[in-house]
Amino acid sequence: MSKTKEWRALDYCEDNRGGSQAIVEQDAEQTNITKQLSEEWIIIKDSECVNVETTDTQVALSLQIGIEAALAIVLRLAIADDNQVEDILQDFKQISKTNQSNRQKTIVEKSKYVDIVTVDTDIAVHLQILIQLLLGVIATLDIL
């Protein structure tokens, strides 16, 4: 009984979108790993024409920094003691950090014409928790 030879992208390439967009490594074991901040793994192996759309972590990250800075500004304006402000910021950081543990793994192997769309809900939740903390501090200190 003869086995049907399974399809492998590295055996031949049908990508005819005019010119090669990627360097093709002639190593079947070569694996392309993309790791993002929130532990999101997308592994594409022995495949072609794979389109990946994922959460824009850059936007989320700059927003996160913006909110954290705003929290620091508000606390520094409201509280005279700088050490006190640092301790409070540390405490808030711990509260928001415990909510960050997102692990997604997407593996594409021996496939072609695949669209991957992943959404990192945790990073969105994290941003909302930060903004909730900021609003909570402003309301509690009653400074605006």
Partner: protein, 66 residues
């Protein structure tokens, strides 16, 4: 994610109050004399951040439903 915040607002309030009191912040020690001009800037900053977070959530939702 719907309009529901991830943490209940009451919980956030208690959380914030406990962190502040743990660090010895007393309400009467808090400077309430922030100039009006600075208050205005802070309000604008907070509104701006709120809007950006909402826009980000919205773009995530749209991506998800595509």
């Amino acid at each position: 994610m719907s309009g529901q915040p991830p943490i209940n607002n009451k919980v956030v309030e208690v959380l914030v109050k406990s962190v502040l009191s743990k660090n010895g912040v007393k309400a009467d020690e808090v400077k309430r004399s922030i100039p009006e001009e600075q208050k205005k800037m802070l309000r604008e900053m907070v509104e701006d951040l709120k809007r950006q977070v909402e826009e980000f959530q919205q773009s995530q939702k749209e991506e998800n439903s595509e």
